[in-house]
């Protein structure tokens, strides 16, 4: 199925939900959903036999950096407001089609439901998104840092306004 057909199918299935297809000048199309219906949509595309997306390729977290950009007293960039985004890339091993789903969450309090009960591979991807971008996955059984040290408390490295700390555990970071 093409993304248009999948979109129509979802549109018919959930009439009251606002979803749309987005595409920029180049690259691929994806379906945008809001985080409060994300779980419903994911469940549908996982369990609907016509879609049957059983293979979660990747979850990517992105800092959209679309908020208000300010400078603090030290001249460091800080971003207030705006959104963080998640892209779910899915593939169906039986139907041989793929899709991308995007959802955007509020930057100040980012939280989405976990997908770990649908795809086990979401486990480490979600932990990575939490570690790097600070997005909380509600219902994740073991949501803690994965790549950074467990006692890291200087923020989330892949956010666009991340400031590299001078010291970590009283050791000077030399670069």
């Amino acid at each position: 199925m093409t993304i248009k057909e999948i979109f129509d199918l979802l549109k018919n299935r959930f009439e009251n939900i606002k979803i749309y297809i987005e595409k920029f000048e180049v690259g691929e199309e994806y379906i945008v959903v809001s985080p409060d219906v994300l779980k419903q949509i994911l469940q549908e595309i996982r369990n609907n036999p016509r879609l049957h997306f059983d293979y979660l390729m990747c979850i990517s977290s992105v800092d959209d950096a679309n908020g208000e950009i300010k400078k603090d007293e030290n001249g460091n960039k800080i971003i207030k407001g705006g959104t963080l985004s998640l892209y779910y890339h899915l593939y169906s091993t039986t139907r041989n089609h793929k899709i991308a789903i995007k959802t955007s969450v509020d930057r100040e309090n980012p939280a989405v439901p976990t997908a770990i009960d649908l795809w086990k591979s979401a486990d480490w991807h979600e932990r990575e998104a939490f570690d790097m971008m600070g997005i909380k996955f509600e219902g994740h059984p073991n949501l803690k840092r994965i790549l950074m040290p467990y006692d890291w408390n200087a923020g989330f490295p892949l956010r666009k306004d991340f400031i590299t700390p001078e010291y970590y555990n009283d050791l000077k970071i030399p670069y």
Partner: protein
Amino acid sequence: MMNEAYNLEYKSLKKEGDSEIMILNMGPQHPSTHGVLRLELKVNGEIIEEVIPHIGYLHRCFEKHAEACNYQQVIPYVDRMDYLSSMYNDFGYAIAVEKLLGIEIPERVEYIRIIMGEFQRIASHLVAIGTFGLDVGSFTPFLYCFRDREKILTLFEKTCGARLLYNYIWPGGVSHDLYPEFKNDALNFLKEFKRNLKDLEILLVENKIFIERTAGIGVLSENIAINYAASGPMIRGSGIPYDIRKIEPYGIYDRFEFNIPVGEGIMGKKGDCWDRFYVRYLEILESIKIIEQALDSLPDGNVFEKLPKKIKPKKGIVYSRVESPRGELGFFIISDGSDKPFRIKVRAPSFVNLSILPEIAKGCFIADLVAILGSIDIVLGEVDR
């Protein structure tokens, strides 16, 4: 009565005695963890109750770094992710950027990329097989594998000047053309290598001790493999013909004839360590086939013609995936219209494959855990990025 009394005594001993669950730390400097990986094992005697992998010792935050570089400057960093298959990382990244740019590349470059990629797959699988043998206690095949791998590295070195980290495949082309005698050298190597593979087969594939150590161990069933999004030899070992070169051909893979070997459970159960190993071994043979076909029809032409000086894609997102020696290597790139990528996320095959370890290592012996880890074939540079 006696028995009951015994049982009671045993139970009471268990209560007041030490807990039977012991926590054992394996790594980060354990030789069989293939790098800096720490495994926290909860063991009941010799039996593993739970495995918790702790990763991140090699974390360089490549993704953050890439945001500060322009598109060409990212390539050397991509090399250093999976340092055993640098050529294929370049290949995957180049394809992703070309999708964003929407450019066609010269015919000769397509062929060179396939040849280099498949040579890299052979080299990478030789390391995987060699170190896997080493993990379960057979030392000689390791030397045989490295001897042959070294010859491939020499081919690479003669072509692009580097043994391990090539910076060779660029968006739009390759950095150097093949040297004039490349075709001859490559064919000579393949001829010799095919002979050497016979030795490897006798030494390792048909080795009784090796089979005993690996067959029936670490069985990964089909459903779990798909649910955990395993890829590469890991999922094919479980009998699923999931190979991106076939299901979603990139480059010019659709022009060559090759098979996808899958695990059949010849020695033990389907999806065990031996199957994963054997799939790798068969893939080497398939790669040889592809290289021979590609060398046969290698066209002449200019390799620099389409190489863009300054890369400035339009706004957009792209997720492109290739079949690296370890599995599905995905590059997710967001471009905001400038000459630097807004965001690069790498879907590293080893990262996802390693997350299956707690599932399949449950209930096995500690010694078998080493075999399972060896059969997953992780590269920590890619797990941590």
